[in-house]
């Protein structure tokens, strides 16, 4: 039975299921638009609409929508202030909150019914309609999206590192000896070690965007594949089996958004916030 439904040659030549790369949907002026790009546009529009509606008539005693937005913004601001410190969070809060809200909204929006199941396709012999090119696809199940966010973080991290520390400060953070009160030959010995460790640190810093990118992509893509596999088990058992996975994906979407924002904030904090009176080691 399975071969009669899925035996019709799939368009992509791979196995039936979610392809690991996003599928192009339209061609506009030579630019290829894929289905995960469309969903990110929809999510962005919804976010902008929500914020605009909530701040259209601001009053001192807020209405429900404004109250909700204030709760979100203030909660995030306090959360990041605890990590970054007052000075850094003023000029960097926009990035972390935008990353968190965008990834969260994209993940949760991609769970709505219709994503991945509406699109262009063909009818197989047994009368089923098989979707070959879905119009919408999970926004973060596309490596381009997560790569863009990770590279943007790397760019802004570099800018903020130089802005908050200066060129000499950055060199001191990476290569300098991070202990005080040690003089003499021990200091020279430690200086050599810290200098060499600085190069290792640079390698690990350059690896961070890659790990951020693959973490988010892997979690969301694996979740979608898991849901799809569960649903193929049959009409009744498929639904029963994929319901827990659906709620797991809701949790995973939230946790991955929080982890991305938290990790970027912690990376920024280790570089930029140690010049304050925090007193945290390195």
């Amino acid at each position: 039975m399975l071969t009669s439904v899925f035996g019709a040659e799939p368009v992509t030549g791979e196995e039936h299921g979610l392809t690991s790369a996003a599928v192009p949907v339209l061609q506009v002026f030579g630019l290829t638009i894929s289905n995960s790009m469309i969903i990110t546009w929809i999510v962005t529009l919804l976010l902008i609409l929500f914020v605009r509606l909530a701040t259209s008539k601001m009053s001192l005693v807020p209405g429900k929508l404004q109250n909700f937005l204030e709760m979100i913004v203030e909660g995030l601001y306090e959360f990041f202030k605890g990590i970054l410190g007052e000075r850094v969070v003023r000029s960097t809060f926009w990035f972390f909150s935008a990353i968190f809200l965008f990834i969260l909204s994209t993940n949760w929006f991609s769970l709505l019914p219709g994503v991945g199941s509406m699109g262009w396709g063909h009818t197989t012999e047994s009368g089923h309609f098989m979707v070959d090119i879905p119009w919408l696809r999970g926004g973060n199940a596309d490596l381009n999206m997560t790569c863009a966010m990770a590279m943007l973080f790397f760019l802004f991290w570099t800018i903020w590192a130089f802005k908050f520390n200066g060129v000499k400060g950055v060199a001191k953070e990476l290569f300098g000896v991070k202990s005080d009160g040690i003089t003499g030959p021990l200091l020279a010995f430690l200086a050599v070690i810290f200098f060499l460790v600085g190069f290792l640190e640079i390698i690990s810093i350059c690896f961070r965007p890659i790990s951020l990118m693959f973490r988010l992509y892997g979690n969301i893509y694996a979740g979608e594949v898991m849901m799809e596999t569960m649903m193929e088990m049959g009409p009744i058992t498929g639904i029963l089996a994929s319901l827990p996975v659906y709620f797991l994906e809701t949790l995973v979407g939230f946790v991955q958004a929080m982890v991305f924002a938290l990790l970027t904030a912690v990376f920024t904090a280790t570089m930029c916030s140690t010049s304050e009176s925090e007193g945290t080691a390195h």
């Binding site: 693959f214 973490r215 892997g218 979690n219 694996a222 946790v255 982890v259 912690v266």
Partner: protein, 70 residues
């Protein structure tokens, strides 16, 4: 004899080993987090944030093995 048997094995060993190591790592993080919250229930918020961070770090290794190896 044993090498002939071993040579017949195919599949994604790298993914399996990465998943094994990652699962054990996440379990260790969970153990540490549960113990510390049990000792000091007031620190639940901070411990949870740090535990989620460590779990995300440990989990991402699996994705490297899954997607970066041909």
């Amino acid at each position: 004899m044993i090498t002939a048997l071993l040579a017949e094995l195919t599949g994604s060993f790298h993914v399996a080993l990465a998943a094994l190591g990652s699962a054990i790592g996440i379990g260790l993080v969970g153990k540490g987090a549960s113990e510390s919250v049990g000792r000091n229930p007031g620190a639940f918020g901070k411990v949870m944030v740090m535990a989620i961070l460590a779990i995300a770090f440990a989990e991402s290794i699996v994705f490297f093995a899954l997607f970066l190896v041909k």
